[in-house]
Structures are given as structure tokens and as C-alpha cells.
Amino acid sequence: MAGTLGLHNVAEGAAISAALIERGWHPAKAALLSAGTMATHVPAAVATAAWVGVNGRPWGLGFSAGAMFYLILVELMPESYRQRGHTGIAITASAAMSIVVLLHAILVS
């Protein structure tokens, strides 16, 4: 379970770092912050286990999916379109999606 989460986090770290470096952050600083955001796994896992238990899990997952989805639409996509051609962005975004789905599928199975 922990190993799964660890590998899963590499992809998420890449996503966070890409967003930060694009905004002028140093890669090392971005890596540190990515690690920082992932460290929230620990208290979040403990808190979730204590508070909502297993029954609350879909609410938590849905919450983060919604928050990420909205952030992609108001920040990441428009910024990307501003800097590069639509075709390149569309290819990159579609490819990134299939990589994450694949990683997730490999790790869960």
C-alpha cells in the first residue's frame, strides 16, 4: 500500500514541479515543495482514518478530484495555451493523461 502510494506520488510530484518551474521556481525548491505537499499524506491519512473511516473515502477522493479538475481549468490549461500552440498542448495533455491512467492501473493491480 505504501509502495503503491510512493510510486503514484512520483507522477504527482512531476505535475506539481512542472507547474511551479513554469512560474519561475528553481527545480530544487519545486522538488522540496512537492515533497512538502505529499507529506500531507501522513497527517491526512491519520486524520481521515480517525474521522471518516472507510465510509468517508469516496467523499475525500471526489473532493480532491474536483479541486484538481477546477485548478487545471482555471490555471494550467489557459497558461499553457498562452505559451504554446494548441496542437502541442493537446498532444502533451492527452499523453500525460494516459501515462497517469497507466501508472494508476499498474499500481492498483
Binding site: 481549468l73 490555471e75 492527452s94 494516459s98
Partner: protein
């Protein structure tokens, strides 16, 4: 009636239901830049939602196959767009760039219903099929897809009537594919994840390549974010709950 005829008739009814998706646009008289941007955002959300449910449907049949299919779908649209000329192209009343994009949208949604047709046939082939219930479910499921096509075609200059017609047209492969898939489940089942992935990849690419950039052009980021998120959620809820 033989089972095959029932499947075919059911499929035709579901295809016609897709045309109902155009109805809301009868009440939108003026196509201001804002309306066009919102319309693109709605289409983007609905199509992302449809892609999401296709991937969910495809994964039990094979994750790798679904993902490979998705990448082939992206490549297919990329190549088609490269081959279709920007200028001098006519599609219905449309000319030029708008015609190219509307035509691509119809191609993508038609590919999508090919895959869905196979999924329906495979899912209900062999076992006892509850024909009426299934027909109603698919028909309802198709309405937002018609809405997505109309929301994508209207801003590019197509009339409501022709959007409705192309919505129905894009759903016709559903009955056409459902019948052979229903009869030859064993032959179709292995191809299914590739097909579902293909449709999802092609739709996702169209969203990122055409619909989202056009939505951002005349609507604010929070507006686009909200409309896309809500229509995405609505589509997923609609398709997974029915």
C-alpha cells in the same frame, strides 16, 4: 420479431434520441461571443465526461488495450486534421476552418458511437436482454451527446436543424455495430477496449485542441472552469447512474 430486428430497431430509436440534444439551442437566439464561449465550454465538459466513462468501461476489458486505443485515437485525429484542408472545405452550410472543425467533431462522435455500439452488443449478447429497458437507457444516455455535438457545431456556424441531423447521424453506427457485436460476441469482445479507448482519446484530444482554447477566447477562466467542471460532473453522473 427476431432478436436481431429488435436490437436494430432499438438502436435506431436511440440514434434518433441523440437529436433531442439539439433542442436547448432552439431557445438560444443570439450567438454572441460569450454564448459561443460558454457553448464550447459545455461541449468540452460533456465530451471529457463521456471520455471518462468510456475509459471506465474499457478498463475491465484490458487497461493496456484501452490506453493504446486512446493514443491511436489521438494520432488518428492529429493525422486527419493534418490531411483535411483548412480552406476550400465545405461541410453543409459551413465553409473553411469552421467546416473543418465541425467535420472533425462529427468524425470523433461517430467513432465514439461505433465503440459504444460494440459495447452495447457485447454487453447484452448471449444473455437475456431487457430490450425495452436497455433501449430507454441508451436513448437517454445519447441525449447529452447530441447536446455536446450541437454545442460544438453551433458556434462554428451550423444551424440547429443541421446540428440535430448530424447528432442523429453520428449515433447511427450504434445500432449498426450493436447487431454484429450482439451476434458475434466472442469476435468483438477483444476489440472492444481498443475501440472504447480510441473514442476516448479522440474526444479528449478534440477538447484540448479545439473546444477549450475557443472557450477561453471569450469567457473568463473561472467561467470556463465552472462550466466545464459542472458539465463534466453532469455527464459522468448521467452516464454512470443510468
Amino acid at each position: 420479431m427476431p432478436a436481431v430486428v429488435v436490437v436494430l430497431l432499438a438502436g435506431l430509436i436511440t440514434a434518433l434520441a441523440t437529436g433531442l440534444g439539439a433542442i436547448p439551442f432552439l431557445f438560444v437566439r443570439t450567438l454572441s461571443p460569450k454564448v459561443i464561449a460558454f457553448s464550447n465550454a459545455i461541449a468540452a465538459g460533456l465530451m471529457l465526461g463521456a471520455s471518462f466513462t468510456l475509459v471506465i468501461e474499457g478498463m475491465p476489458f484490458g487497461t493496456w488495450q484501452t490506453i493504446i486505443g486512446a493514443n491511436i485515437g489521438v494520432a488518428f485525429i492529429l493525422i486527419t486534421q493534418f490531411l483535411l484542408p483548412d480552406e476550400g472545405l465545405a461541410f453543409g452550410q459551413l465553409r473553411g476552418g469552421g467546416a473543418q472543425k465541425a467535420l472533425l467533431m462529427v468524425i470523433v462522435m461517430t467513432a465514439h458511437s461505433f465503440a459504444e455500439g460494440v459495447a452495447v452488443g457485447v454487453a447484452f449478447g448471449g444473455g437475456e436482454s431487457l430490450a425495452t429497458l436497455i433501449t430507454i437507457a441508451i436513448a437517454i444516455h445519447n441525449i447529452p451527446e447530441g447536446l455536446a455535438i450541437t454545442a460544438a457545431m453551433r458556434p462554428r456556424g451550423a444551424s440547429v436543424a443541421s446540428s440535430a441531423w448530424w447528432s442523429v447521424f453520428s449515433s447511427l453506427p450504434q445500432p449498426l455495430m450493436a447487431v454484429p457485436a450482439f451476434l458475434f460476441v466472442d469476435a468483438f469482445a477483444p476489440v472492444l477496449p481498443y475501440g472504447l479507448g480510441f473514442a476516448a482519446g479522440a474526444m479528449t484530444y478534440m477538447v484540448f485542441r479545439e473546444l477549450l482554447p475557443d472557450a477561453y477566447a471569450d469567457a473568463t477562466r473561472p467561467e470556463v472552469g465552472l462550466i466545464v467542471s459542472l458539465s463534466f460532473t453532469a455527464m459522468v453522473a448521467f452516464q454512470l447512474l443510468i
